[in-house]
Point group: C2
Chain length 150, copies 2
Amino acid sequence: MKARICSTSKSGSTLVLSQDKDIDLIELEQLLESVGWTRRPIKLVRCALEHSLFKVGIWRHDRRIPRLLGFARCTGDGVIEATVWDVAVHPHYQGIGLGSALMKYVIDTLKVTGVERVNLFADPDVLNFYIQQGWELEPKNRRCAFCYSA
Amino acid sequence: MKARICSTSKSGSTLVLSQDKDIDLIELEQLLESVGWTRRPIKLVRCALEHSLFKVGIWRHDRRIPRLLGFARCTGDGVIEATVWDVAVHPHYQGIGLGSALMKYVIDTLKVTGVERVNLFADPDVLNFYIQQGWELEPKNRRCAFCYSA
Ligand SMILES: CC(C)(COP(=O)(O)OP(=O)(O)OC[C@H]1O[C@@H](n2cnc3c(N)ncnc32)[C@H](O)[C@@H]1OP(=O)(O)O)[C@@H](O)C(=O)NCCC(=O)NCCS
Ligand SMILES: CC(C)(COP(=O)(O)OP(=O)(O)OC[C@H]1O[C@@H](n2cnc3c(N)ncnc32)[C@H](O)[C@@H]1OP(=O)(O)O)[C@@H](O)C(=O)NCCC(=O)NCCS
């Protein structure tokens, strides 16, 4: 999938969605910290990103100081299962459609490669964000989520 | 992680757990079919296995006719997140500890590589199987599972 100009106009500047542009890992951790998540060691993040199916960023387009405003990545085998992680939009830019644009880009990318199922784990306070976009909440007589801290 | 002799003695023959032994994909799909799952195209399964972090099989040890009795695989980035899929033990060999041995092997393998979190989606009728082994059911004020059929 190509880079995509983000169609929201409310941000006041051009925004670009891309999975090819290099991610500055410190900028990424700052973004994830801005939504309240704990910073992770950069070495770990680098390795995790390298072993992801793909990663998507939203940047404010500026030749000199582009800025990362949103992020998501996918792991999985890419044909039967894909799992979405680290979905975040910078607080200053929330509520203007960037999160939906990000998720649409993720799903469209996975449709091109043809994966059968996409999964994710959502924080309870963002359930509606996913439900509005057609995601189905488990368990629906189907599957329950488990985790294990190794 | 090395191959492991399965310590259950109830099966009447030596059982070997290994992530290095080649998986016969037709045998794998027969195993998964035996627990009631729909067969998947072999090409897809091959690709999914190639893009998994690792896969574990349990075999009845027999130089001429080894037989695949159990299976599990993991996807993920291998450092921050890992996800377990396709956990199955052949119905004739259920209830003698193979499922637990399989999951222990998976967790031990992930501990060696040092992943932070392991996740899985369980069918509602096997919740206790995971809970007994120390897995925590989500949501626990934490995360809810979603799926999307692409
Ligand atoms: C969740 C998040 C990515 C949404 O991004 P966003 O750019 O604000 O989302 P959008 O503007 O595209 O919103 C799309 C729709 O979802 C709704 N929505 C957005 N955030 C929501 C939330 N936290 N809870 C419920 N609904 C939400 C919006 O109201 C909007 O609905 P509308 O189209 O009817 O107006 C962003 O709020 C965020 O980064 N949150 C913190 C990190 C986080 O929780 N990530 C998800 C982890 S699972
Ligand atoms: C789930 C499965 C892998 C368990 O394998 P197994 O070899 O029978 O499991 P074990 O013999 O190691 O059982 C370990 C413990 O879990 C319990 N357990 C096993 N299957 C269970 C089930 N379906 N529901 C609840 N508890 C179960 C056992 O009673 C045992 O408890 P005990 O130690 O107190 O006796 C196997 O039943 C299976 O393949 N089922 C069909 C496929 C499936 O549902 N896989 C999981 C998808 S999420």
